[in-house]
Symmetry: C2
Subunit: 359 residues, 2 copies
Amino acid sequence: MSPRIYTIAELKHFAFTVFVKMGCPEEDAQLAADALLAADVRGIDSHGVARLSGYVRLWEAKRINTRPVIRVVHETPGTATVDGDSGLGLVVAPKAMNIAIEKATSSGTGWVAVRNSNHFGIAGYHAMLALRHNMIGWAMTNASPLVAPTFSTERLLGTNPIAVAIPAGKQEPFILDMATTTAANGKLEILQRKNKEAPPGWIQTKDGRPSTNPHELKEGGALIPLGSDYEHGSHKGYGLGAMVDILSAVLSGANYGPWVPPFVAFLQPPADPVGLGIGHFLGAMRIDAFRPAEEFNHHMDNWLARFRSAKTIDGKDAVLIHGDPEREMTRKRLRDGVELNPNVEKDLKELAGRFGLSL
Amino acid sequence: MSPRIYTIAELKHFAFTVFVKMGCPEEDAQLAADALLAADVRGIDSHGVARLSGYVRLWEAKRINTRPVIRVVHETPGTATVDGDSGLGLVVAPKAMNIAIEKATSSGTGWVAVRNSNHFGIAGYHAMLALRHNMIGWAMTNASPLVAPTFSTERLLGTNPIAVAIPAGKQEPFILDMATTTAANGKLEILQRKNKEAPPGWIQTKDGRPSTNPHELKEGGALIPLGSDYEHGSHKGYGLGAMVDILSAVLSGANYGPWVPPFVAFLQPPADPVGLGIGHFLGAMRIDAFRPAEEFNHHMDNWLARFRSAKTIDGKDAVLIHGDPEREMTRKRLRDGVELNPNVEKDLKELAGRFGLSL
């Protein structure tokens, strides 16, 4: 039997319906489904519908509030701190990003620290919301601790992503969306399913020794910051992850470091929280707060054209431009749909059964 | 004969006098000497007095203006674009940073893009200027193209550093100051002097093959972005370096990518510039624009204490905290002085002879 192909539209509608069944207002459910499916559309399968049942379990554990009162608790002309009231990060973050965009409209740039939120899907989605206003968008979040600082055996940081979306003129935008680890957890999950070893430099054992076992995290091991080892700059990846943690949580009043509540509902949040929920940090910068937009667009197009046409190493087709692989995947998946991993499909069928939905 | 030990104060005074001889107003010369010596004090020997003769040669080549009229060419309440009038980056950047700090005072955050500047020494110095105002400081700059994007043989980016300085309460601040490459150029220079091979993953040949020859850049080779290879995330280091280039130059109107003028005076700037000089991007964020400072200080101290006391891998004394190694070096060098590399000492003696100074 050939595997079933799902369209993005039907998966998005399914996610929307599940969020409504969880009690989200329709508008929020729409937003959450859009943010969630942005991952599948862009080919980041670990952060899309594969996580839908995870959000449902967190809601069952009463760790997600589907009727949050999202409010600004502190502000200046160009900044705000937002309390997400334990809402879905998929809803809280886009709303906070809109505040950053409003602030940027009047002050040139706008920055919003968010506390009391939950996982927000892919960082790139939120950063990209700025593009339609001709602004540079920034999005960061902290996450469940899985990463060991350089020279440590303890898991003190999440994969803490940084996304920056920069508009252009005729060219498509520059979109950086990166975990601050050598490899994102999703890449390990792929190896686990295929029963393959991980390359050296991605993970360490619970004692901090190098490992290639993709199941090492279940044994108390840790992901390694970008750089892989000290000689290759892992203290830089660790520094970036630390910066994301501090901006997202120490600045907002969320939990940080090892106190960040786990995404999986079967693990309890630490009994001694240092803040509220998890934290995000979002920003928007108006292009014309620095330079007339036309000038910027012209030079940004030139930048992209120059890098895109750079000479390649023998055997490589093209130099990578950030955003290109995800755009190609988007075109493909909107046209051809997606085949789900069997475990993910089983998960979604169970959700369908439970909520009396069809899939 | 045992090597001569120089005090930081005498080296700073020497640099000050050289800048005055070049024609800098005394106040600017003071500022430039302070910024330059910050590198030696913190142990980043490649960016301190070792570069003084490089600045002199750029001035001789009429590429540095020692009497610049530094002006704001574009602004909003929270942003500005500054034209450095070909001044020393060591002078232009701190002045631009002060504008960012002023903007933050009224708007919550302040961001300044700088064009028409020159190399500004270590990024950390400028970011740290925000600390005395209880603000988070950011500093980035683009630089002479020495780095190849992932899959390319061409040198299109500089080592494009990112510095972020975050204040704390009783603890000392968190200071990240990193090149976006696996290894900074200064580390290669150390290997060259010692005639030692570089670790794999730092450099590539002109054809893009792996190399361990520390002289490879002279043969047309390139530095590699943080991550070392695609499998270990070099596209992330490349993405960060690209972001620094775009914010510093495409946003400000400076030269970007391969058009960035070289630091060494014996190489001519490209004949077809796309902007003015090199570019920086500086920011300041008021802590109390997000959260009462006392709350932040308390949690930042807790963050630092928790990470500092993390369990270490066997054989490692302590988990690295960003800023600690440089602070230890600062204490040592302010107390004991520094021994100069013989080539650097010879360089400085020549400068002394030329300007009729004693050293």
